[in-house]
């Protein structure tokens, strides 16, 4: 019940600060459109680099959105009140993560057909891309919530957040892009999807706990 209230609050905040979630989406599209300009509009070339490019653009745009996740709540004392109060901190963290996924992961998922069009991906690869985004973006949200909780009170948060979180994104990047690659060559990619799901479940079980303790440390 409490999480629903927290979620409503997060969504209301997002609705009032549209730049917070619209800019990362625009950033995603702009980064993607830079690649054909940079490496040349050759369709074969684009098809080869597409899986990696899509995922790198997704990682960077989620990273961009995560910097301010806890900053405002920390500055105006919301986190302090939550830690001091009796409400479950875990419910807050889960609501935060879900709202972050709704505002950054879900739009990427919805945009994936457009992206496939831009980079000339085939039907099979489009399905694989949508599935990896479906499993991968919640994981991205969990990790970025973790990173921004760790660096919440840091003086120079931005670059530091990238340094902490990008290495943790690497396994996801490897398996997600290899799934899309396998699909575009007509091979099966259930194995990669299973590993992505396993990573997501593991993170879902452990990351919220780590985030709550990071929040507690930062206000103590």
């Amino acid at each position: 019940m409490v999480s629903v209230i927290f979620l409503q609050r997060e969504l209301r905040l997002l609705a009032r600060q549209k730049a917070d979630w619209l800019n990362p989406i625009l950033f995603f599209i702009i980064v993607l459109s830079l690649f054909p300009l940079g490496v040349g509009p050759e369709p074969n070339m684009l098809r080869i680099i597409a899986p990696g490019v899509i995922w790198i653009a997704a990682l960077l745009s989620v990273l961009l959105a995560s910097e301010r996740l806890f900053k405002d709540d920390y500055r105006n004392g919301v986190i302090e009140q939550l830690v001091a109060g009796r409400q479950s901190l875990l419910a807050f963290v889960l609501a935060k993560t879900f709202a972050n996924w709704l505002s950054t992961g879900l739009p990427l998922l919805l945009l994936s057909p457009v992206v496939a069009l831009l980079l000339g991906l085939e039907q099979a690869a489009l399905g694989a891309m949508a599935l990896t985004l479906l499993l991968g973006t919640p994981l991205l949200s969990l990790l970025s919530v973790l990173g921004s909780a760790l660096t919440m009170a840091a003086d120079k948060g931005g670059i530091l957040l990238a340094l902490l979180i990008l290495p943790l994104y690497i396994p996801l990047l490897i398996f997600a892009s290899s799934a899309i690659e396998a699909a575009s060559m007509g091979l099966g990619y259930q194995g990669q999807l299973a590993i992505l799901l396993a990573m997501l479940l593991l993170a879902l079980a452990l990351v919220p706990m780590a985030v709550t303790s990071a929040l507690r440390i930062n206000v103590s």
Binding site: L146, L150, T151, A153, A154, D155, K156, G157, L160, L163, L164, L166, P167, L168, I170, P171, I174, A210, S213, A214, I217, N218, S220
Partner: protein, 245 residues
């Protein structure tokens, strides 16, 4: 056990304890390092396939094993620090991090130097290499995160938490050669039943591994002593020690 360990949570006791251990550890580490490396690099027979270039394992393998050992030690210190709220354990985390980062860098660089003649490339994106690189980033992240806070205590706690989270990478590095078909060769000495390495090469290697482990302890003692002095500089016992500044 806790009754016995408890005094060492006090910074002054720990400072003197480390000071007592340090000369023994240093001498042991240097002796073993000299013995293991000279034996391994100069007096072992050449490999039947790889010739003389295999000799780099006497530096590569110990530093790689101890880069993970250092991480395990750092994460244990982080766990102790966060669970029992012990200040010196936080300093231990920060004392180990640069040493571990250096070991990781040595492992990566010697691996690259070996990979060039053997695989024909300085670097391949293989699971073992990538996960070791992530380990280096984790060490650097712990160091950088600690420096980013104006409140030193919060910085120490947050970087301990990150050290603890990064433990997930250790099993990935260790099993990477079994889980994926990678270019990096599988384990040859940790199979205790029948090591796939000749005893004449195994012994100097084991001595070098031990040497790197003792060196890690020695350097940790050294850095921990410095950290204690810096953090406790306003305490009376430190002032007395450094001559009443």
């Amino acid at each position: 056990m806790f009754k016995w360990l408890d005094p060492y949570a006090k910074s002054e006791t720990l400072y003197h304890f480390c000071g007592k251990l340090l000369p023994y550890l240093m001498v042991t580490a240097l002796t073993l390092l000299l013995l293991g490396n000279v034996w391994g690099l100069a007096f072992t027979p050449a490999d039947y396939q790889q010739g003389d270039s295999y000799r780099i394992i006497h530096i590569h393998v110990p530093s790689a094993i101890m880069s993970m050992g250092a991480y395990a030690a750092m994460a244990s210190a982080a766990f102790v620090a966060l669970v029992w709220q012990i200040k010196v354990a936080h300093w231990a985390v920060l004392a180990i991090a640069p040493i571990g980062a250096t070991y990781t860098a040595i492992a990566l660089i010697t691996g690259m130097a070996w990979g060039k003649p053997m695989w024909g490339a300085w670097w391949v994106w293989d699971a073992r290499l990538t996960s070791e690189l992530i380990l280096l980033f984790l060490y650097l992240g712990v160091i950088a995160l600690n420096g980013a806070f104006s409140d030193r205590q919060v910085g120490a706690k947050v970087s301990s938490l990150l050290a603890l989270i990064g433990v997930i990478n250790l099993p990935i590095i260790h099993f990477s050669v079994e889980w994926w078909n990678t270019l990096h060769q599988g384990a040859s000495i940790t199979k205790f039943a029948r090591p796939s390495i000749d005893p004449s090469m195994l012994w100097p290697l084991l001595i070098s591994i031990l040497a790197f482990a003792v060196l890690l302890m020695a350097l940790t003692c050294l850095r921990l002593r410095t950290a204690i002095l810096v953090n406790e500089q306003h305490r009376p016992w430190v002032r007395k020690l450094v001559g009443g500044l």
